[in-house]
Symmetry: C2
Subunit: 461 residues, 2 copies
């Protein structure tokens, strides 16, 4: 009764079926797109600065490859309202947040489509995906944003202050164009990644195959958008010990790759930094695998935790670790809101029960781990609250301290960052001219971070 | 579905009922014993050396206080045969090994008892317990011994060589007197311990109360008969991380106190050594509790693992950690036999299913942890196989190396043994004249390690 009944790579996907809406036969894809009206996808800009804050192409790829199963496309009004009200899809499966295709009235008029039509979505002029126009509807973006993240009134103690423009997730939703197209997505042109993305591209089907091939029974997912310091490494190592009667067989590091914010580590350093952990053997490569998902972080902490659980379950993981301030920014949420979610549910956010204990909920096992710190008296990394009580001596891992060391060109002590990880940061600093995302990087970066092969296409006559 | 449904201190005892056969009212106890034939309990000696290899008083205390629930006394022939054949009591509850009261034909004749009578058991002449003579029977001790521990033929790969006189558990059973009394035990005179035993005496009822009082939901048991080195400490810390969706709230260290072997640490150092871990805060005292059980180790590895699980479930624990060579001596068993037991069962030893997955089995959750080692490249204690792959650099914790350092009076490096623990060893060296059990200690030691208050008693007229 204590053994996890699912096996890594074999755990049912969320909603019961792994979505695959990728047309792999090129000729067929080319036939499908002929004559469709074309719409060029562009990043959603910050209305004030013009800097990209979202690119719908990330969501399209994640839907088509099944990361977001059972979603097959963008939400219709009924789906949106069901998610905002009950955090459920229309067929009852738990779903945490709106997935929307927004479009301006002007562009819609130019396209001249009506419900029942299809649109060819292009990227840099190249055919990319087909969007079925099942429904065109309007909805107040700010209302969507606020209902998605919650309010201090509805969820006291969990939402600590009202969401506003400074919250990047709220801002993404709130600055949408107010008109939406609901309908299925069909990817007709597969993304072509450069290294290091290319070797780490494990969409759900492939990631599941890989887990089965490696003989892993239990795999725990680690969410990241950081170059790993020693504290991150230990949280992974500690969390993997919670399998069932034995530890998890392996850790799946899954980096969220999408829009960036000033001061973030560059994606390449994040991915190769995690690889460095296993290459240098701090976690043996036989039990560690680095992958990524295209997604523009919504920083929705407990709300986003459910999305992460779904994504990693779809990738085949049996366990998912959640820590303090999971996918959080600022002080909008209580720092252990995700713990509350998995332990009791958060009715004030529409999660009436823990997401893994509700009907049509997630199947992945949440693993809650607190902070890892260095204790000089113990002479090691300790887990707050559970292990030693030398609070007065504890040294926290400070991301900003590590950043300031790096900017000065100082190698952080190996107790804080493994030298092999630091070397990766240095390598990408040299290649990209900066260790951290700056304005130049933000404006010059390839977004989405992949190319498409040319594809024959004749527009609507 | 991932939460452990039992709560520490509230988990049902093995067999469903916590046995309590201790008469707490002195007057009543005195009335009960009058006129009974008296039998003085003595240690079971090694026939060759005379050194004690078992004292039945340890089992009497453990039965009476419910450590061995649902046992209420010593086994009858049918019970013994059921345990040897199926590892089950007559009512179907899983039970790993015989619990026997053996007596010589000569003593039996002197006592002049028959089935249906009662015997007053005395210790150093003082009334101690009443034994109901439900059945008097004979059974070949060597057959009991061999059936208890198994054979390479029946359990290939698990039993690696035939058991013999060098195995202390086999030897305990094999040198019993061949005649046994089956029947219930009633303790009429409670043991009086000296410090440090006294403050650490938490029989099941008290230990359960303590867990509830401390508000612990999940508690993991750590079996010990050693002064803890840093490796032991880490195994505990690692194992506690396997709770359900959160780590266990606390660790219950439960030392097995009974007969000793040459070279063992002295009991006082074992107990205070574990206390030193929490006193110095390496594991906060809020999550750590040191206790003991009176029991003469049978070194039955997988067989004994089941007994340990039962004892700690009876004490209120929800989890029990098992490591390499759990309760093992020599190479009789495969070093990960207990892992096999909990993962698949060992049909060749009569455990057709894992003990926690069988009907009328144990409810405690097994947690399997491998070895903790020091890795100089990682700069920390690592868990073999799961974490780093710097095998060539690994430094094992060698108990004998630590012993030889201590004997030389050299303080082991703090990476190996915490200085506060070393101080405890030194303290008891000074008090007892030796840090490790030697012949003088073995022959002069108070066994069982408690006193009894005087009690009025008139023998049979």
């Amino acid at each position: 009764m204590y053994r996890v009944r699912y096996r890594a790579g074999k755990i049912p996907p969320h909603g019961g079926r792994l979505v695959n809406r990728v047309v792999r036969y090129r000729e067929r894809a080319e036939r499908m797109i002929q004559g469709l009206p074309a719409y060029e996808l562009k990043p959603q800009p910050d209305p004030k600065t013009g800097i990209p804050i979202r690119h719908v192409a990330h969501e399209i790829v994640s839907i088509a490859y099944g990361f977001l199963s059972p979603l097959e496309g963008f939400m219709t009004r009924n789906e949106l309202e069901s998610v905002l009200k009950e955090r459920r899809l229309l067929d009852g499966w738990l779903w945490p947040m709106p997935i929307l295709f927004d479009i301006s009235e002007e562009d819609l008029k130019k396209l001249g489509v009506k419900e029942g039509d299809q649109i060819l979505l292009t990227l840099r002029g190249t055919p990319f995906a087909i969007l079925d126009v099942d429904e065109i509807f309007k909805y107040d973006p700010k209302e969507i944003a606020t209902k998605t993240f919650g309010t201090p009134e509805a969820a006291p103690g969990i939402v600590q202050m009202p969401f506003d423009e400074k919250h990047p997730g709220w801002y993404q939703y709130a600055t949408m164009k107010g008109t939406y197209i609901g309908g299925k997505i069909t990817l007709v042109n597969e993304p072509v990644f450069e290294e290091p993305f290319s070797r780490l591209w494990f969409p759900p089907e492939k990631s599941r195959e890989e887990m089965v091939k490696r003989g892993w029974r239990l795999v725990i997912a680690h969410q990241t958008r950081n170059v790993p310091h020693v504290g991150h490494e230990h949280l992974m190592k500690f969390a993997m010990l919670n399998g069932d009667i034995e530890p998890c067989d392996a850790i799946l590091v899954n980096a969220i790759i999408g829009v960036k914010r000033l001061g973030d580590y560059v994606d390449e350093a994040i991915l190769e930094g995690h690889e460095a952990i296993n290459k240098a053997g701090y976690i043996t490569p036989e039990r560690h695998m680095v992958t990524f998902t295209l997604w523009d972080m919504k920083y929705g902490h407990p709300v986003e935790a459910v999305l992460h659980a779904i994504i990693r379950q779809n990738m085949g993981c049996t366990h998912h670790m959640f820590g303090r301030d999971h996918a959080a920014v600022g002080d909008y949420y209580y720092k252990y809101a995700a713990f509350k979610l998995w332990k009791e549910g958060i009715p004030g956010l529409g999660f009436t029960e823990p997401p893994h204990e509700t009907d049509k909920g997630v199947l992945i096992k949440p693993v809650l781990v607190r902070e890892a710190l260095y204790c000089p008296k113990c002479g090691e990394i300790v887990l707050t609250e559970y292990w030693c009580n030398h609070e007065k001596l504890w040294q926290k891992f400070s991301g900003s301290m590590i950043r300031s060391l790096i900017i000065e060109g100082v190698e952080p002590p190996s107790l804080i960052m493994r030298p092999e990880v630091f070397q990766v940061v240095m390598k990408w600093w040299e290649k990209l001219g900066t260790p951290f995302v700056n304005k130049t990087y933000l404006t010059s970066r390839k977004l989405p971070p992949f190319d498409l092969k040319p594809m024959e296409y004749s527009p609507k006559k």
